[in-house]
Symmetry: C2
Subunit: 368 residues, 2 copies
Amino acid sequence: MSEVYAARRTRLKEYCNAGGSAAALVSRPANVRYLAGAAPPGAVLLLGRTEDLLVCGPSADRPPQERPDEALRVQTLPGAAGGDPAVAAAGLAQGQGADSLAIEEHHLTVARHRALGSVAPRLRLANLGGAVEQLRVVKDEEEISCMRIGAEITDQALGELLESILVGRTERHLALELERRLVDHGADGPAFPTSVATGPNAGRPGHRPTDRRVEEGDFLSVCLGATYRGYRCEIGRTFVIGTAPADWQIELYDLVFAAQRAGRESLVPGAACRDVDRAARQVLDSAGYTEGLTALTGHGVGLEIDEDPQLSPAAMGKLDACVPVTVEPGVHLPGRGGVRIDDTLVVRPEADGGPELLTITTKELLAL
Amino acid sequence: MSEVYAARRTRLKEYCNAGGSAAALVSRPANVRYLAGAAPPGAVLLLGRTEDLLVCGPSADRPPQERPDEALRVQTLPGAAGGDPAVAAAGLAQGQGADSLAIEEHHLTVARHRALGSVAPRLRLANLGGAVEQLRVVKDEEEISCMRIGAEITDQALGELLESILVGRTERHLALELERRLVDHGADGPAFPTSVATGPNAGRPGHRPTDRRVEEGDFLSVCLGATYRGYRCEIGRTFVIGTAPADWQIELYDLVFAAQRAGRESLVPGAACRDVDRAARQVLDSAGYTEGLTALTGHGVGLEIDEDPQLSPAAMGKLDACVPVTVEPGVHLPGRGGVRIDDTLVVRPEADGGPELLTITTKELLAL
């Protein structure tokens, strides 16, 4: 694995050097993880003029499954100092003779930025911007393999829940039960707070579970995902509770399903992100559900649950092969509930069979 | 409750005006929550020249138990814009005729700060610093009451776990079980990731649960806490698995217990924070455990798990009445395990009975 991290750091250094910076300070945790193999809490990565260093705060507890790249020197700040690894790294960069340092202005606070300037007054602080995030968009097969395992775990957890009795249980209990099952099946943990929404709450994006209990006739929508070796995925499904769904439920479900399928089918290398969004969105639009749609119909996913690219009407850029994204349109009718259907897929060329569906739980409308 | 929030905002405005700023922008979520009664994801609070506003991003899902202060106007950004509430608020501040705006430099990133400057070029951006954090240090009885309920929930969850069979279960399972019980008993959720550490892991501060199983003869240390109505608390206990603890386990336990008691007993209004730290630390020091002690022996707690004041050798300042703090010394012996004992207490004058212990689970060395 070490060569993978070294290659990623080399690409970033080339980018920095082209921009006129001899050194770079990476502080955003997912970016540190991507380039160093591990991101102990608070740790920063210095890509220095003469040496790369992972600078860690005192007594940072490392997740056991994450080990920093062995090719990287790890420097741990002394406990008593209580210092900021980013500030220490800036001092080290200056000590290595760098005259400029590219930092992540979208992650460092104004106060930390000022502290860097005081400790290393001879360094010109440049902006690294979202350079690491852009490197992260296209995944290698090792990364996709972690996401595939995470999706299998997620499908298992969801499948087991569907076999249990649901009526009478609260949204909060069901969410906790799902999270427990994710861990049981080997997840590092949930990829994001599990959402379980019943009755009038169903279909609300990002709904936080309440004490409402599942009732006969409800829509039940769930959204969950496992983190596996740092990589996240996401699945959303909507079910009906009881023997048979009502007509309005079937209609709404079929509509959202059609929108989600249109989005999935438009995932080809070279497709404009806004066109994927439009494919899903226009199905809902043309049925009159213009109001209250979410700003995105999907997004990239990987070390973070919400990464580039965004699938939205204003999104720029095109999809590449090996980019995992979610496709997750939904409709929520205030007071009645609604439907969301959400998959994680990897963009693949048609010659390779088209988009690879990672979350394979059925999208039939199940009555539970 | 509305008067409480209004009074907090008035105090902050007086502080800002004294510093020469007519308006303030609060962006750190716990600070927004403290002043506005709720903090939908991404929302910021503008204390303006003519009006206070809670500026929210599109489709922010609010926790059902949190409602913004009704005296406060809520402005929701349109969904399509996808804008930053902080940037929008700066524009509104300038529109209200403010010439300077105090912002939280320790929370706003460099990139957001720059965007504020572009949108409101006539505003001088000053630093609010940790002003809201300082207001938050001393709690009112309403806040303490939430913490007391949270601590009761935490004691219940821990008590139930102790009655179950532990040998053979993994750290990760026990941690999940504790978190489920917290929610069962009415917590909003865990106050921080629950730590369960067995055998050689026991006593490691902030240990992340692994798949190690509880064995006979292990030390078992747990650290958990409930969030109740936004307020957090924390308890840490160490147990022995089996019929009787070994001599070294009893000795180590008695030592950490003595250190923790010394810390607790020094919690009086007016005590220097560093003296509380020293009281606990010197018990461990004098027994030869100087190496590997954590930087803090305790810290403030409230809307966040880790607040001011810090109880550390370099801490400045004194304790006031009605300040909740943790006291949590510990010793970890690499390869063997260790002991941590952690309580949440409220500083109270001796006339009121001295420090109020919120987490009342026994600190006897139980053999489970």
